[in-house]
């Protein structure tokens, strides 16, 4: 396998853009990434794209084809990857493998999304054989309630307080003020977060991410090309994809088996992250920063311990001591995270790669993690999809 460099980073800001199509959002992200890389569109040898359920793609998730036609049909191979909210991370992994394998030297990875208003609706499959449909019909338990159930379990296990949950949102928004791409660039006080309406007790409106429009793109290349073309490459130390395992303790439909011998939650994310550590030959202590999928503040407490970044039950004290701030020992989501961006589902994995890249290049401005050398990004998607990427300077 060859070394793979990230030489181009580009984003369209996150927000709600009524007058723009998803292809227009993607075009801006792609143009920014190409310009950053110093690479012309006609030099791109293959495209790996996240498939959207909500926008563009002609109903088949052909979002990569939309981008290629819009940029100018050069005849490049296009791979459209579908993995729910993990699609951006999946597309990155496929782009990475295409360069690492020696098949292509310069590859574009792109993800863009325009989200319908409101909470993400369920599958839309109205079938009595679909467990997701049955869960909504018989129990009435949408996504945020699911996060709330997991969060409440943590509160029972570790004594996590509502105030600690709110502090994570306060921290996220404190970081977002320094990120020109974030949708919400405003600080909130603890009182404001605690005063926001309950969505699903114990979680409040400001403690879960809304949906957004956005797009992100990156240019990957071989080491040989990077040495010739780029003054500031960052390197892919690892890129891993995994799916959930049968013994996972979270019932994904209506029920599962009570897991014997303790807990294994979010096994897809844990397997991807732990696999990435192994591939990179580094450990949690080597990380300068983490960009994790904070659909809800709860994930910022559970994920670090599930991946071995801290001891079980330690996440709350890391937060309280300021260790997860950009200046702390384990900076988490200096970008402002999903809480500040909102979720443009399939673009999120690439938004993370862009943020990690800017951090490692020292270009993150007021949210810069001092001396950042190694960064971890992670996504989690419907269907039990998990991805992880580790970039290094």
């Amino acid at each position: 396998m060859r070394d793979v460099a990230v030489i181009g980073l580009g984003m369209h800001p996150w927000g709600k853009f009524e007058g723009k199509s998803v292809t227009q959002l993607c075009r801006e992200a792609v143009e920014n990434a190409l310009k950053d890389a110093g690479v012309a569109w006609r030099e791109i040898q293959a495209v790996s794209a996240a498939s959207s359920r909500f926008s563009g793609g002609r109903g088949w998730g052909l979002n990569g084809n939309d981008v290629v036609e819009d940029m100018g049909a050069t005849g490049v191979p296009v791979f459209n990857l579908s993995a729910g909210c993990a699609a951006g991370g999946n597309a990155f992994n496929v782009g990475y493998m295409m360069v690492a394998s020696g098949m292509y030297d310069i590859v574009l990875v792109v993800g863009g999304e325009k989200m319908p208003k409101g909470f993400i609706q369920t599958s839309g499959v109205e079938e009595h054989t679909d467990p997701e449909y049955l869960r909504q019909l018989c129990v009435g338990m949408p996504g945020p309630a699911f996060w709330a159930v997991m969060c409440r379990r943590r509160m029972a296990e570790y004594g996590t307080t509502e105030e600690q949950l709110a502090k994570i949102a306060v921290k996220a928004h404190k970081n977002s003020v320094h990120n020109p791409y974030a949708r919400f660039r405003k600080e909130f006080t603890l009182e404001e977060v605690l005063g926001s309406p309950l969505v699903s007790y114990p979680l409040r409106l400001f403690e879960i991410c809304p949906v957004s429009d956005g797009a992100a793109a990156v240019v990957l290349c071989s080491a040989e090309v990077a040495r010739k073309r780029s003054a500031k490459p960052v390197w892919v130390a690892a890129s891993k994809v995994a799916t959930a395992t049968f013994d996972d303790g979270i019932p994904r439909g209506l029920a599962g088996a009570v897991p014997p011998g303790g807990k294994a939650y979010h096994s897809e994310a844990a397997a991807a992250v732990r696999g990435a550590f192994e591939q990179a030959g580094i450990g949690p202590k080597d990380l300068s920063l983490v960009e994790l999928q904070d659909n809800t503040v709860y994930y910022e407490l559970s994920f670090p311990e599930e991946w071995g970044l801290c001891e079980p039950g330690e996440a709350e004290s890391l937060l309280e001591r300021g260790e997860t701030l950009p200046t702390g020992r384990l900076p988490i989501n200096p970008s402002g995270g999903f809480l500040s961006f909102g979720e443009a589902t399939t673009a999120q994995g690439l938004f993370q790669v862009c943020e990690l890249g800017w951090q490692l290049r020292g270009e993150a401005g007021g949210r810069q993690v001092p001396g950042a050398k190694v960064g971890l990004g992670q996504t989690l998607g419907l269907g039990g999809n998990g991805t992880a990427v580790i970039l290094k300077r």
């Binding site: 409101g118 909470f119 609706q121 369920t122 109205e126 009595h128 467990p131 449909y133 049955l134 869960r135 909504q136 019909l137 018989c138 129990v139 009435g140 338990m141 949408p142 309630a145 709330a148 159930v149 997991m150 969060c151 409440r152 379990r153 029972a156 309406p197 309950l198 969505v199 699903s200 007790y201 114990p202 979680l203 049968f246 303790g249 019932p251 209506l254 029920a255 599962g256 088996a257 009570v258 897991p259």
Partner: protein, 139 residues
Amino acid sequence: MAKRVPVTEGLFVETGQGPRLLGSRCRSCGTPYFPKSAVCHNPACTGSQVEDAEFGPRGTLWSCAVQDYPPPAPARFDKPYVPYAMGVVDLEDGLRVLGRMCGDDPRGARPGMKVELVLDPLCHDDEGNEIITWKFKPV
């Protein structure tokens, strides 16, 4: 005359011993399934023979939450909307199952509570019939 109508067929039954959830269990590895499964999905299991099984009624609330806003379709509720609690229950027979909680104090549900399976109205239809689902009641 108002009737009791199940929200969907084939998921639960009222037996002589009380309500039960209708599922399956693997004959080889014992993995419980709800709803019913035609095969065993355990990758560590070499058998694939499953048999019908009934689950419940006793268990422990593993965790819970409150649905503070009216959920989107296909969820159903009576108007005006009243927040409810839902939980994940570890049944004594090894099934970890989702379900609505009974009662009018959604914040009163607590992980670790002992609970019991009941069949209870989810909502009412236009004719005033009770639409029945499974729920859990603290014991």
